[in-house]
Symmetry: C2
């Protein structure tokens, strides 16, 4: 917990002089509310010991203009206090935790959609605008930004930019960094810089790409000029089934490398596919009958299926049994609320407490269930004629690569539920479990190894599944979902930390990146050195150039607190 | 001229220990050869006073590996000598001039095409590979990098990356910065950094975009992993005529904003169109008869055409006369060699010595010749079916916007001559004239003002024409070509400097960038402050992070020589 700042009266007066007294708060409720984001580890901490141990800012301010933000940063410099930029608070890496206290700057009052320029297809927005509101405003005018993160209802444009976010349709529209024509940034010096009018200039480095992803450690993004696209006239969605992940990945690669750009590409691994194909009726039943979960064998005693020696009928029966078990578990896991019910009933706990065994079983079953296949959701959208042509070419390619057409339904179903996940996680925590996701990425060649390595790193600790999405011509992202449980709060946190110690390390060893679109924050800070190696010295140098006193969001992005700025000082 | 380095024997021995004695040279011929690039001002300087006044490096080295480059940089640090990275020497901004002497590092021996990975559609190359050789190697394997600068025969991949180059088909394939998955860079500290394995990571700033365009001021790019595309199965080229630049620009904007991505888009202004539509037979005749160039009126006496009061017949006749004059001049200007002949005959000199008047006349004529229109070259390429569909949609859109189909011929003609310009300029200089180009860029909204402003800034000094190319959804580039002449070498240089003082300043005032794809070097260094404003402090800070002693290509990119490193010291 942060201590009281010696000059806190003076600080408050200085800030009030900038934004007025109504937009400065040191109220307990505000300081607690701004102490965290949606990082699951913070939920665990709060569950463990309430809010007492969570670091708080000294003060929260709500500026309404870039000029005010610049004045606030200059004030922070004068007081030698940290600045923590705050948007929607929907981050999942602890990027806004006020580790050393300081001034939390909530930019949500800077939410003007200043101008949609039809001639340039650019939209000038303030960084605090809510994502869904932004997209809706564009839709009304016949445009789209094309960024649809599952957090769209609770995240801000500024947060997207600060973390290099990607939406569910990034395969067509790009990640946010592909759609930025310019930024307005208040640096840690309190200067205002405008990056790259037209981001195509050849007069030195690209500042925009330097600020994007910097997570508040170099400056505060206060406004942006973003590229918008014409709203799609046609959207085509379809499900496909592939024999295996490898077959599905090959099909995606072929589509991408032919220059086709579907909006949505999501390939679920065998386990994740089961979770998505589970029939609701059966699940409802299984929820009511915990005995349907066969007791999980103790470690070392698990008799792995030896199918070749079984009779087809017995194999099929047993396969169905295991399938049902796996389906239920993952089907429920993907529907947070139901899993919560299962946890209450104690049925899931037996499974979650033996993740290594379960994952090994699930993996083997999945392997044997190859004939059940992996599901791919694919969607194309855009101008009518081109989308029709491209959809046909895409479907032809998928079928050439062994895909079996499942029709429109799986795609429509995905579309309908695509934002659900952000709202189903918290309840699980109250039941003593935790859920989190780990999004890594690499090139096609390294993907299989990346998948195996990260999965193997998580498997001893939690039940894990994955899907492949956000495709590029040279590779794609893997999105792992894992559910864990500990007997005590301390054990929960220990397991959680073990996953985040081993998972990103495995990703680095396999030549993948530790983050595709969630960012780094505190969560992956320890992995920044092995991710960037010699370039970390460059990052530190750049940090000094933007923020000589180290006041900008200290302790994040693997940039340790700068000397002279420690908890004791603030 | 640089002085002899005090420890030059030691320096030579140190370098020989790294690369061997055959790959180190202090021979006069080598030092002269590596003293410059294709910056026209250097041609003027050499014409004026030979090579005596051109700064030379102390030594030239030809490393063959990243390891050797790193050792050379560390040696330069030890000797406190500048490092000047050198590729093809085809730059046009003086980026490789050894202003303070030092070690010129020619990377052309690092020319391995290490690996074309079909699975990832990435190609790993060393930075010294020649552009045309690189593209040819890809073509043989069914791929293309898609970067076709007019310098392709004499530039290197490393040079492209260091300057954020763009090729003639960048509208489809992107500028080079869009096609880089990763770089190997030796920083000014002598460290080797690898930037962004998969350039989609969300773990801080994007290093690749920080190195691209840094023109050797932060480090030396020694290798790159580049995205390649499938070689086109179909190429469709066509010419269109538009009533005016404004009509043509609107058509391009509509095409781009519908998400269509032609490979080539080149819209010539009225004067440039005339230069391209001139009939060769007529020109040959005009070459032989200098009297066909009517004497240009003295300033102040020019009777501008007052068409409304003229009889249609007389207007037409006079229009033809002026048209013929303008056509001849620009037709010849675009064919360097012929202009040279004209200059020898003294006919052109009369025109070139009165550029303001001529430009005003040409402008007025062009305006009146609106019915002659502006020419657009458009080309699409790629997979067969999609290219057919997209070509039809593109042509439909161009015609909807008032374009008149000129058939295939203009496109084929452009394609055939597309690299000529890089080889036709030098001869003009021997005749006392100079030619140069200025490539600026902005958003659609600002383009008309940018065009007028820069044209007006150049017009008093040289005969000027322009075309619009390298289109994006939000804007495009303007490529000005200008031909000037001075009575003496000193006057030539004065005129040249005035153009480069006024032109970029006008671009900045009109909200454009001073460079779209040629880079900055020495040529535009003075304009970097007004281009970047507050962000120049950031650039200086970044420079210090990469290159604490300021040895990397000092004096370029508006980064002044670092204290302690001046001509006297080296």
């Amino acid at each position: 917990m942060t201590r009281v700042h010696a000059g806190s009266d003076k600080l408050r007066r200085d800030l009030e002089a900038i934004v007025g007294s109504k937009r400065v708060s040191t109220r307990e409720a505000d300081l607690v509310a701004y102490s965290r984001d949606m990082w699951p580890r913070l939920l665990l901490a709060v569950r463990e010991s309430g809010f007492a141990e969570v670091p708080r800012p000294h003060v929260v301010v709500w500026p309404q203009s870039t000029r005010e933000v610049a004045a606030i940063v200059r004030t922070a410099r004068a007081h030698q206090l940290p600045i923590i930029p705050y948007g929607g608070g929907s981050g999942v890496c602890g990027g806004v935790v006020p580790l050393y206290g300081g001034i939390t700057v909530d930019i949500k009052r800077m939410d003007a959609i200043q101008n949609i320029d039809r001639d340039e297809m650019l939209c000038a927005v303030e960084a605090g605008v809510n994502g869904e509101r932004f997209e809706r405003a564009l839709t009304r005018r016949g445009f789209t930004f094309g960024n649809f993160p599952s957090s769209i209802y609770c995240s801000t444009v500024g947060g997207w930019l600060a973390t290099r976010a990607a939406g569910q349709m990034s395969t067509k529209y790009g990640k946010v960094e592909d759609r930025v024509a310019g930024l307005t940034v208040v640096t840690g010096r309190g200067d205002v810089i405008e990056t790259d009018g037209l981001a195509r200039a050849a007069r030195g480095p690209n500042w925009t790409q330097l600020i994007l992803g910097s997570e508040g450690t170099l400056g505060i993004i206060t406004a942006a000029r973003l590229r918008v696209a014409v709203a799609p006239a046609l959207r085509v969605l379809r499900g496909y089934e592939f024999e295996s992940v490898a077959h599905g990945l090959n099909a995606i690669r072929q589509v991408m490398q032919r220059g086709l750009r579907p909006a949505v590409v999501r390939l679920y691994d065998e386990v994740d596919t089961l979770a998505h194909t589970v029939q609701l009726g059966e699940d409802e039943e299984s929820n009511r009958d915990p005995d349907r979960f066969a007791p999980v064998p103790e470690p070392g005693t698990a008799a792995l299926p030896r199918m070749p020696k079984e009779s087809p009928a017995s194999a099929q029966a047993r396969r169905r049994g295991v399938l049902s078990q796996v389906s239920s578990l993952f089907g429920q896991a993907s529907q947070g609320g139901n899993l919560r019910r299962l946890l209450r009933q104690g049925a899931m706990s037996a499974v979650l407490s033996r993740p290594r065994l379960f994952n090994s079983l699930a993996g083997t079953v999945a392997e044997r269930l190859t004939r059940q296949g992996c599901k791919l959701i694919i969607g194309l959208e855009g101008a009518r004629i081109r989308t029709q042509v491209e959809a046909q070419l895409t479907f032809d390619e998928l079928e050439r690569c062994g895909g079996r057409n499942l029709g429109e339904e799986p795609g429509r179903d995905w579309l309908e539920h695509r934002y659900d996940v952000s709202y189903n996680m918290s309840p699980l925590f109250r039941e003593g479990a935790f859920v989190d996701t780990m999004e890594v990425a690499s090139s096609w060649e390294r993907l299989p190894d990346l998948y195996d390595s990260v999965r193997d790193a998580i498997a001893p600790h939690a039940v894990v599944m994955a899907h492949f999405s956000h495709a590029y011509s040279e590779g794609c992202s893997i999105y792992f979902t894992f559910v864990g449980q500990g007997k005590t709060a301390v054990e929960c946190r220990r397991i959680y930390d073990a996953i985040w110690r081993d998972g990103p390390a495995a990703a680095t060893r396999a030549g993948g990146t530790i983050s595709h679109h969630h960012g780094v924050g505190m969560l992956k800070a320890a992995h920044m050195n092995s991710e960037h190696r010699e370039a970390m010295a460059v990052l530190r140098g750049i940090k000094r150039a933007f923020d000589p006193e180290g006041i900008m969001n200290p302790g994040k992005l693997g940039l340790g607190a700068v000397a002279g700025l420690s908890e004791g000082d603030v």
